[in-house]
């Protein structure tokens, strides 16, 4: 087995100070291997989202260490973490978080713009990503003109357009009906299998977690259980 792509050691996270302080994580240890598909589950307030934000380099641990692809994330500056996100990470949010009044194509292009790709390369890659999520005919539509499921697929296209090593999804199906949810999960499974993208996904729903190979349960700021499953082919 190769070195885990993600390694959390004794990670704590405290929000606020004094009497208002809230200890969200109390010493999380977690390894995620390259190519894995994990589902993070647990009750609200158990530390799932906080962990995801730290994994995504969006937030930093209060204490403890986070090694992502060999980088000690807790020692990096904001901009250095932004560059890690740009190169290796893709995000899918519950609320889609697409730019309004902006066509699907331009939304998907955005990470490539920051990466500095030229116009033609941007367009080709963005079209490719939209094709993979099956939205090529909707490339010119703005989020307001797309259904929830379609918006989430645009968000996935935006997340994978840079060929990230890791895709982080925070309740990606939380705003969708069950049929759309299944479509999204099939898409994620396919990306995990075909493109080898490591996926970490927060979900409340066991049906969705069933698509993952590993299920990690959080409770009161700690990892309660790790469960490896044989996924049906």
């Amino acid at each position: 087995m190769t070195e885990p792509i993600i390694q959390l050691r004794g990670v704590t996270k405290r929000f606020g100070t004094g009497v208002n302080a809230f200890q969200a994580l109390k010493g999380v240890n977690l390894d995620i291997n390259r190519g894995d598909f994990i589902a993070v589950m647990g009750a609200s307030g158990g530390g799932k989202s906080t962990t995801m934000n730290i994994l995504g380099c969006l937030d930093t641990p209060t204490t403890g260490s986070y090694v992502f692809m060999g980088h000690h994330v807790e020692t990096l500056t904001n901009d250095q973490r932004a560059l890690l996100r740009r190169r290796y990470l893709g995000f899918v949010f519950q609320g889609f978080n697409l730019l309004s009044r902006t066509s699907a194509l331009e939304n998907v292009e955005l990470p490539l713009l920051y990466r500095g790709d030229d116009r033609k390369a941007r367009r080709n890659a963005a079209m490719g990503a939209l094709d993979r999520v099956g939205l090529l005919p909707w490339a010119d539509h703005t989020p307001a003109e797309l259904s929830g499921g379609q918006q989430q697929r645009v968000a996935i296209a935006r997340a994978i357009v840079t060929n990230p090593a890791v895709l982080l999804a925070d309740e990606p199906t939380g705003n969708l009906d069950s049929e759309r949810s299944l479509e999204i999960m099939e898409l994620l499974t396919q990306l995990n299998k075909d493109a080898g993208i490591t996926i970490a996904m927060v979900t409340h729903e066991p049906d969705m977690a069933a698509f993952a190979r590993t299920i990690i349960r959080f409770k009161d700021g700690l990892v309660e259980a790790t469960e490896r499953r044989e996924v049906l082919a």
């Binding site: 937030d59 560059l83 740009r86 190169r87 978080n97 730019l99 902006t102 920051y114 500095g116």
Partner: protein
Amino acid sequence: MIGTSFVLALRAIRRHLMRSFLTTLGIIIGVAAVVTMVTLGNGATAQVQSQISSLGSNLLNVNMGGGFGRGGGAPPKPFDQEDVDAVKNQIGGVLEIAPQAQSSVTAVYEAQNWSTTVNGTTNGYFAASSIAVTSGRMFTAAEEQAGKSVCVIGDTVKENLFKETDPLNKTLRLNAISCNVIGVMAKRGQSGFGGGQDDSVVMPIKAVQRRLTGNRDIRSFQVSVDPAYDTTAVSTAISKLLRERRNTPTGTDDDFNIFDAKQISDTLSGATRTLTGLLAAVAAVSLIVGGIGIMNIMLVSVTERTREIGIRLAIGAVQREVLMQFLVEAVTLSALGGLIGLLLAFGLTTGISMAMGMVLTFDIKINLLAFSFAAIIGVVFGYVPAKRAAALNPIEALRHE
């Protein structure tokens, strides 16, 4: 990176046309108002000043009788040639002196007649009052000395009596006498002050005294003062001399008055300057109001866009890139608004100057000032809130509703 910021900024402007338009509108109105008002104010000042300078430069008008509106008592006592000579010889700084004896006449040429004023004076009159003789000539020394019956006519007189005919060397009848037209004065037009010479006939003073008024009285005289001398001091000296010569008892008012064009000019320019200042203040208020408008829209839009900033940060934009985009946006909108404002002001001032017959000068300073003020407000208030938003943790920015 700048290229990326440009692409992003222009996309953002295009996507939010209404918001962009409102931001720009504040700048447009502010800039246009300031530039228009100050330019008009400057134009008005320049116009008043040119009207005053048409009175003659450094000119004193000495008239018989007390100040304005002090009627009653004995009839005003006229001056005589000796008074005029005394002023010319004893007061320093007197360049030209032009005594005047006036008479109302009916001027007749062939079948045309016209009521006008005959002004008996010397060549000094043309110089002192800055009147040009456009065709023909002024008097010769011999004509002045002998009181020859020659005359220089004003434009109104020429129009009414001669129409298309060339008046030079024609004989004009003024009441009972006749005179030979030797010149025509340049048209001065109704320029507020001193428009009277268009409707007048100028003759050597001796001719007027001998043949029209029948006395040697001089009702007024003009003194042109060497620019090196202070007109107020010269005026005081003349006043003193005339009081002596006219035996005015100490403690009584002058029985003559001296009208100093420069004093009037100073007073009027002071007044127009005050008005320009007032206009500029009004304009500055509109610029500030415009600025507050820009501020509001920028602040609201950044608050509105905090989530967008969060998205950009989450997908890997570094702070600098987000800021650069907002900066480019703010600069583009401000500069565009400023330029449109300047163009609008140019159009407005041109239109108004044509409608009012005013000559306007393009004042680069006020244009630059208004433009940079608006641009700085636009940039600062576009940039500062964006800086605050970009410093947020992406998670907090994303949660912003």
